[in-house]
Symmetry: C2
Amino acid sequence: MEGSRPACPTLVLALGGNAILQPGQRGSFEEQYANVRATAEQLVELLERGYRLVVTHGNGPQVGNVLLQNEEAAATVPPMPLHACGAMTQGLLGYMLQQALGNAAARRGLSLTAATVVTQVVVRPDDPAFNHPSKPVGPFYDAAEARRLAAERGFCMREDAGRGWRRVVPSPEPLAIRELPVIRRLLAEGVVVIAAGGGGVPVRALGDEGELAGVDAVIDKDLAAARLAMELGADGLFILTDVEAVALDWGTPRQRSLGRVSPGELRRYQTEGHFAGGSMGPKVEAALRFVEAGGARAGIGALHQALAVVEGRSGTQIVPEPAAGSLEAVPARIL
Amino acid sequence: MEGSRPACPTLVLALGGNAILQPGQRGSFEEQYANVRATAEQLVELLERGYRLVVTHGNGPQVGNVLLQNEEAAATVPPMPLHACGAMTQGLLGYMLQQALGNAAARRGLSLTAATVVTQVVVRPDDPAFNHPSKPVGPFYDAAEARRLAAERGFCMREDAGRGWRRVVPSPEPLAIRELPVIRRLLAEGVVVIAAGGGGVPVRALGDEGELAGVDAVIDKDLAAARLAMELGADGLFILTDVEAVALDWGTPRQRSLGRVSPGELRRYQTEGHFAGGSMGPKVEAALRFVEAGGARAGIGALHQALAVVEGRSGTQIVPEPAAGSLEAVPARIL
């Protein structure tokens, strides 16, 4: 693969929540910015090696905070709908990332422009997810508050095992990236593009003329990143998070990490239920979609080893089965 | 001037607050979106005539709401600094504008991409404005709350004639648009660029290596638009607001509207104090700066007559003095 790599390979990076907020932190600007600074240091190493980057990121804790602020001030300020809050977090987190990336580059004497493109992601109005809201967002409520929100605001509320009630929203499939031409153009110019933050603002078609409207839903950020990587024809999709690799039999004595794996083999593990619990499911699915659609390589690994993950020296590497007789016909490797 | 106009003139539009929120409205998403829809209808008329547009907008009421939400929830969620709240409103209002512009174009059968570029605007760390905070932001407080905020958060608080206490922040000069290369590139590709919302996020240099950091300040959005228009070499700067034209002796029986005026004459009116009160001061200053720096034309007029203002048929038109002997040597005209 190295020999056929184009001069400036384009990578889509999906940053996990730990890129911006660490467990136990309350989410002050200073805490978040310190994390983003460390993240930018990792990413600038990739830029130094000539990779072109599109950066996507999660927004769960941040949009949760915005929703809570909206509720607390609801008597004075009309609460914004979830899709609008998502756009706000794209502005906030994009600003932090673009500033920190520019600064990290400047410290190394590089000239770099990073830019945040507020991104709408189109979903199907008839996505089955709209009949099965499943994604919890925002704060916990007691039963009385939950009933009130359901009645007054039409929220779908669900009890979360002993911790109280929480709003759940649909998590539809990302169908298309509305601002794709913009992202593609900036990337071609060498701009580091921050896009589809939080999975993008979910929008659906209004009528047949191409009009769009926001919907209160949450698109999985890893699946949105995979869609973006496919539409861009990216050379790689890398999901950078707080674990070193994808694990089989996670949380059991037989737990073991996956190194290099073919999409066929990884699909089998998925079907066997290895990634059913926790947050690894969508990451594995995103990586699989990208490689099955013709992507050269996907990786899932630790953010603090970003360069090693991108270069195939760390993390789980999802690589297509080579054609019969190829020298690359090596079996999956367990780390 | 018409004869020398390039094929696709580039205009910077500065939208007044009424483009997004009308007097008396509380600021629900639906209210704001309805206004933005009407604004988009005005702007798409310009696009149909081949103008390339960069759109800037105010964010006063919206950032005020975000600050209030931050204060109300401060016991639970760490409040974000003002510069980060500004980035949030760029995401929010940019999203609304880019969606409404795309929809307005789609309704007319046009294919159009509008994109929001989260914009940082560089200010001088030693701008004298930092010694004289003057711009009120956010909610009103009673004297006790004001004292607490001054002590705990270091806010500069000022009493606002009988209405209570309010935070005041510096309003420094916009020096440079950090994301200029991105805006320029997208514009060249025919993208409608939404940039420098709320005057942009104010940032200052950290040390000598090109690093930037956000500062809690508010850059006047019209002055930021003028800076953007100058740096882009735009063909025109148009400030679209809720009044039909710039007025002399405003609020007196002798009030009269200015039609076509030279920058020299407008500077004289400014020096005489005609625009000292109200919000017209920065608009006049922004238009003057653009034309004095070589801009072909600036206009100040009503948003609902955007096309007429751009085409010179409405509003106050600030046009350079023609060279001696030019056929255009007409005196200023009072509407």
